[in-house]
Subunit: 458 residues, 2 copies
Amino acid sequence: MEQGAGERIETVSLEQILAALKEEQWAQLAELRPQELLEHWDELSEEDRARLVAELPPELAAELLANLAEEEQSDILEVLAPPNARAVLEELDPDDLADALQALEEADPEHAEAVKSLLGPEVLAVAEALASYEEEAAGGLMTPEFVSLRANMTVDHALEFLRRASPDAETIYYLYVVDRENRLRGVLSLRELIVAAPSTQIGDIMDPDVVRVTTGTDQEEVARIIADYDLSVLPVVDEEDRLVGIVTVDDVLDVVELEATEDIHRLGAAPVDIDYARARPWLLFRKRVPWLVLLVVSMTLTFNVISHFEDILAEVVVLAAFIPLLIGTGGNVGAQVATLVVRALATRDLELRDYLRVLAKEIGTGLMLGVAFGVFVMGYVLVFRLEAGIALALGITMLLIALTANLVGASLPFLFRRLGIDPALTSSPGITTIMDVVGLLIYFHVVIWVLRLGPGVG
Amino acid sequence: MEQGAGERIETVSLEQILAALKEEQWAQLAELRPQELLEHWDELSEEDRARLVAELPPELAAELLANLAEEEQSDILEVLAPPNARAVLEELDPDDLADALQALEEADPEHAEAVKSLLGPEVLAVAEALASYEEEAAGGLMTPEFVSLRANMTVDHALEFLRRASPDAETIYYLYVVDRENRLRGVLSLRELIVAAPSTQIGDIMDPDVVRVTTGTDQEEVARIIADYDLSVLPVVDEEDRLVGIVTVDDVLDVVELEATEDIHRLGAAPVDIDYARARPWLLFRKRVPWLVLLVVSMTLTFNVISHFEDILAEVVVLAAFIPLLIGTGGNVGAQVATLVVRALATRDLELRDYLRVLAKEIGTGLMLGVAFGVFVMGYVLVFRLEAGIALALGITMLLIALTANLVGASLPFLFRRLGIDPALTSSPGITTIMDVVGLLIYFHVVIWVLRLGPGVG
């Protein structure tokens, strides 16, 4: 999967950037693509980063800024003189401007005020309106820059309007038709406008059946609608069905990647709100330790279970030697199936209503896995010339553990979804921990039953 | 994260679809959006699905077909009469047509021949050219439908050309400029064409600096370039730099989701080439068992380690009771950090060159985690009124296991990337298994050293 691709994109080296910075060759640096600078961004000193944003043309500096994490945006804006900061901020798209201003306000309210006083009142008003929406919903994702037409315009009139307004590249390809109250009435692509006869009325060629979301729609749902309906742009309306913004597919690309990262982190019992590459040990420790503490404390139950049955281990010490093999396999089987179910629920390949079907399927698969590993373990025990009774007890234990692990791993994600919790919180370490405890209980009960050992019998 | 969103998209219920199917209300069904039918697709009988594709207008049927998995495409095409199949296939985009034909050829070569003989030779040639590219690369992802212009055309001339050619919606927004040999020379957006003066020459307003990939570029790399450069469309060239197709951002959306699914499955030691929602138990068993066998066999090493030190357990049985707690925590710590590192490598937040930095960071974090859990376990042991020596041994073991797990979990993904293997193959179950074995070795050695137990001492 990892090829030396992108071979036709010539990129600049870190050494070239550093040399240009040293000699203050701003004109030369301004010719680079923002992505080329961003590729080496982490390797530049904080001072050099701020210098680049201050000295490069504002459009390029804005593109750099828009691609940085929020903490870093505020770090840079804090050291820029207010007029410099303003020049860069004015080049940002309204949604990026809203995010950057919010970051700066949190980091340094005074500096933020100084910068804001230099921005135009209209720009500020738009940014503030955007900032009021929930960040992880359509309102936080959309841009308020879109083209809206009226149904009684002609094609010619509309094209003339576009030429004059000269809107941004991203936002011109779908044109929305609204009524007097700004309510969304139809949609039309720029392509349809171009190929239509000049005197046609917009109302006659628009499509009145427009898929839309409201400002409060969760971003994951926005991404799903755009993917399912193969849309390039999705209009966002307020509670009164008035058009307030659009979400473009490239914004959603970032959402899909971020949501996947969240799911992956949850599945590994890792913190979701962390920028791993930049986090320092103390932050990592604080973020990671809550999950681990929960797991360690749960895991102390294994000590209680084993202590409870200590007499049995004292009698047949070799039984202790199989503990990690048995409970570890339970954890692995459970983590594997939980991974499959969690992902299928996330991509909507599975819904809550599929639970019984999945359960039936996993009873089947679990029995097959249980029999296979049960037979394997029995063979293994016999090779080591232990008693047939021990072999039988281990075989039965393995079968029951594999089956149980499979059912727990397949059921927990459904239970979480049912309770409105993210199924990914099931997590591989979570399943492992549960199966350690459950596996030990199964093991000791089977051993007592098959070998007729234990407190009451021994 | 799970809101009752998309509330403005009115959708049809399964009951309504079934009723319309029963009464053969094709006109009524034809008014549905393809997504509405696809939402209930899995709940329809195989027969009903084939009837829908056969009876609905070919454009709608083609949209349905394009959204199905390849096995299902061939299932449906196999039962359609060749003229019916041809009508639907002709409505597909060339890249989808190529995939569908390939699926049908694998399932039923004779039927495929009958259908192909009805398709136009030009359509077939395009599909066959596309089928020759590697599926998981730019060539397999692109569509050959794009608009190319010449640098010496005027804006007016270009607009007239577009009006006559009336290309597809998705492909008109970026116009590529090629020379006589079809080599890519520049790009221009439809927006730029619209707002330019009619007599301007294309060569004067095009951007000659075009980011491009070749047909062999891996799809993951294609997705990364589109995301990093915020592109809507990415042109694909052959080895001679001749323009052969374009990849649009909505195609990439699916790739990002698929690649995330692959990574998630690998991290859970689950098979990647599986459609979980549709797989039956026997298939699931066969796909899942190879990984599990590898893990079970590796895990038998734990038996060997414990057997080797059996005398120690016979002497101090309570030591056995701590085994799952110690090695399980190692697995959880390792799985957690591996998850963070694997994802950061996948999103290119980390590169190979960052390894030493990560190692230093994880020595720090690992020591903190180790001290925290070591102190916790010592306290726990003392609460149970065991000897101070045992408490000390367990505390030291926990510290060493947490530190080791952290370093193994952070290093393995880098090692895999270095060897050209997907870092996600590290997997939580893989780390758990390694840490079970390593954890036991650490435990027994610390116990022998602190308690002065064991073969040579006892």
